[in-house]
């Protein structure tokens, strides 16, 4: 029994992690508890040094002083203020008028505005709600197919996940040990290509099923000519200004992504004040939601770090690595399997859970296989975007349901989402086939942010001395890990334990 436990500790911990989380208690605490419980068992069995828990406060401290994560509250705050500033409504109204005369015009407007909102607010719920309330009724009134209308709205809303500045990309950068700026640059072209694929799908619909996406009749358009042109220009100013303030300053190197988020949030506040949309209650609500979101997100990470302390302590990472590097097909095989895994996990887990729990297990393996981690991160981000559209749990569908008129059946929303989930899968395939989409915008040598690497790699420094038979452990560690102060401490602990 003890023998069995010792030899199979990593899979056992992993299985219990799944069970602990499925119990339905908050993920952060379940994960941390898993780490503590199995840490004690590991010490009892002599697998881990008794001092392992001394590293716990340090784990928490590492999360606290993480500059990258600081961007999470900023971008959340910015999105919450912006969604109530009326910008989305103005955009949908005006762009709808502009594209209205075209066949499929309203659908194009939704996609275009979805992409613009994605580059500013980055809040899926807000985009979907605004579009569902403003564009959906007009689309239905003029004879759009219900499924097409709801599908295009849900899908365009989720663009916020892949087009920078998105929270997923920030967390992905953090977990994979790359800079957020590079992750943003890498996601740019795939974001546009995906938007293009949505447009392409609507074009196909207008060609083969014109009755599903008719043009607006003249009486539906209140503005035209110079008046319309002026309206379009004035409504485009605020989002473009914000995009410059955030992404422009980041890409030009004026501000760090964290500061870009803070500038964007300040810009959004100023804009909301100028439009007389900012009230005390709105401000307080936005701050409170930001504080709570930051807390639960960062706590999942704290939980994951406590878990990984034990999991890596018993060489769990080598077990995962062993499982994944032996896949047939090498690099491509690994990418396909991980993407299928993420795709199905995304039915049950949200992207915070996926990025904090699953990605740190996959990242080091990808790195060892020579996969560019920016490419890998963007790929997973595109994949995780589907988790918002999966029927029946997808959040975008849920929010759309909450604002859609009763004439749209829930099954319409589900069926409407399916073509877009397929487009998403095609997009994952495209990113795998054409990594240039991601690497094009990056510098020749992807610059490695040393600090981040250390944070990422310190986990892989444990368990060097004793490698259980049957697990192909390579004794040499990645260079950055050598610089990690924690590794030295952990190694000495291990040696103590061995004595």
């Amino acid at each position: 029994m003890t023998e069995f436990l010792i030899n199979n500790m990593a899979p056992i911990i992993f299985a219990f992690m799944v069970i602990f989380m499925l119990v339905g208690f908050p993920v952060a605490f379940a994960l941390a508890a898993n780490g503590v419980v199995f840490g004690l068992i590991g010490i009892e069995l002599g697998l881990i040094g008794p001092q392992i828990f001394q590293a716990l406060p340090d784990r928490v401290f590492g999360v606290m002083s993480n500059d990258t994560l600081l961007a999470i509250p900023f971008f959340t705050f910015m999105g919450l203020i912006l969604e109530r500033s009326g910008m989305a409504e103005d955009l949908l109204d005006t762009i709808g008028q502009l594209f209205g005369p075209l066949r499929g015009g309203l659908a194009f407007a939704v996609i275009f505005v979805g992409a613009l909102l994605a580059a500013t607010t980055g809040v899926v719920a807000a985009s979907v709600i605004s579009m569902g309330l403003i564009s959906l009724p007009i689309m239905l009134r003029y004879g759009y197919d219900k499924r097409l209308a709801s599908g295009v709205i849900a899908a365009s809303g989720t663009l916020a996940q892949i087009i920078p500045p998105s929270l997923v990309l920030i967390i992905m950068a953090d977990q994979l040990g790359r800079s957020v700026g590079d992750m943003y640059k890498g996601a740019f072209i795939p974001g546009f290509v995906l938007t293009g694929l949505y447009v392409g799908y609507v074009v196909l619909i207008t060609l083969f099923k014109p009755s599903h996406a008719p043009a607006l009749p003249p009486e539906a358009r209140s503005l035209r000519g110079a008046k319309l042109a002026l309206r379009v220009l004035t409504t485009l100013v605020p989002p473009l200004f914000l995009i410059f303030l955030v992404l422009g300053t980041i890409f030009l190197g004026i501000a760090t992504p964290t500061e870009g988020g803070a500038m964007g949030a300040t810009g959004a506040l100023i804009m909301a004040i100028m439009r007389k949309r900012l009230s005390w209650s709105l401000l307080k609500q936005a701050m409170e939601t930001t504080a709570k979101l930051t807390t639960f997100v960062v706590f999942i990470l704290v939980g994951a770090r406590v878990f990984s302390l034990t999991f890596y302590g018993v060489d769990g990472h080598r077990w995962v690595e062993h499982l994944l590097t032996d896949l047939p097909g090498g690099e491509i095989g690994f990418l396909i399997v991980t993407n299928i895994l993420i795709f199905f996990l995304a039915f049950f887990l949200d992207f915070f859970e996926l990025s904090f729990i699953v990605v740190p297990l996959l990242g080091p393996v990808a790195d060892k296989l020579g996969i560019d981690l920016i490419w890998f991160g963007v790929l997973l981000a595109v994949n995780m975007q589907t988790s918002f559209m999966h029927p029946p749990f997808g959040f975008a569908l849920f929010y759309l349901r909450s604002v859609a008129p009763a004439s749209i059946k829930t099954t319409d929303i589900y069926w409407g989402a399916i073509p877009f989930v397929c487009i998403q899968i095609i997009m994952v395939g495209l990113v795998i086939m054409f990594p240039q989409m991601v690497t094009f915008g990056l510098d020749e040598d992807v610059k490695v942010d040393l600090d981040k690497v250390i944070i990422e790699m310190q986990d892989s420094g444990y368990g060097v001395p004793e490698t259980p038979p049957g697990i192909s452990g390579t004794p040499e560690e990645n260079a950055p890990a050598e610089e990690d102060p924690n590794k030295a401490i952990m190694d000495s602990m291990k040696q103590d334990a061995a004595k």
Binding site: G24, V60, F77, A262
Partner: protein
């Protein structure tokens, strides 16, 4: 049991007060960070103290706010299985989770992080960055944050036992009134009505 429920009420009031004060740090942090970027670009002035105060505030939000977020029942769960249970079943899960998951890990981190704070005080630990801040306030936030989490955990435990005994209302019941998403929808509808 009544004394315990009274204690739970006191803890809730404390948590509520801490949470409601903490949210202002979001605004302060935003202004400091944006101001820091602007100053560095315009008048080329920057200081590590400004950079460090940002993550001090960030840490204060999530560490000291952990109990508040617990009280609001906003820590993310996977309710795939639990969602199928009755209200009482879910309450039992929470009681089990608080006793066996939340408490041990929170007490462990609280207990282990206290000496780290004491050491920072004794050695007068300073930031590694030139012009940085003194470190003990950051070290102190860990045990205090987890202490608040333990306290709130205790209060949640009392309320759940009370609920099972029929002594108090369902503690996970969301306060009446629209959610943030519903409010957004209302605001857009109101605006459409004006147009």
């Amino acid at each position: 049991m009544n004394a315990l429920l009274k204690l739970s009420g006191l803890i809730d009031a404390l948590t509520e007060r801490v949470g409601k004060s903490l949210i202002w740090l979001v605004l302060i942090m935003t202004i400091i960070s944006a101001g820091n970027a602007v100053m560095r670009y315009t008048i080329h002035y920057s200081s590590n103290a400004f950079l460090e105060i940002q993550w001090y505030l960030f840490s204060a939000i999530f560490l000291l706010g952990a109990g508040y977020t617990l009280k609001k029942n906003e820590h993310v769960r996977i309710d795939l299985v639990a969602g199928k249970f009755s209200k009482r079943g879910q309450t039992w899960i929470d009681i089990f989770g608080i006793i066996f998951f939340l408490m041990p890990m929170a007490i462990a981190i609280m207990y282990l992080s206290w000496p780290v704070f004491m050491l920072a005080i004794e050695t007068n630990e300073q930031s590694n960055n030139a012009g940085g801040l003194t470190v003990w306030p950051a070290r102190l936030m860990v045990p205090v944050g987890f202490f608040l989490l333990v306290l709130q955990g205790l209060s949640e435990l009392i309320k759940r036992v009370g609920f099972l005994k029929g002594l108090c209302p369902d503690p996970t019941e969301k306060p009446k009134g629209p959610t943030a998403e519903e409010e957004l929808a209302l605001a857009i509808k109101a605006q459409k009505g004006e147009l």
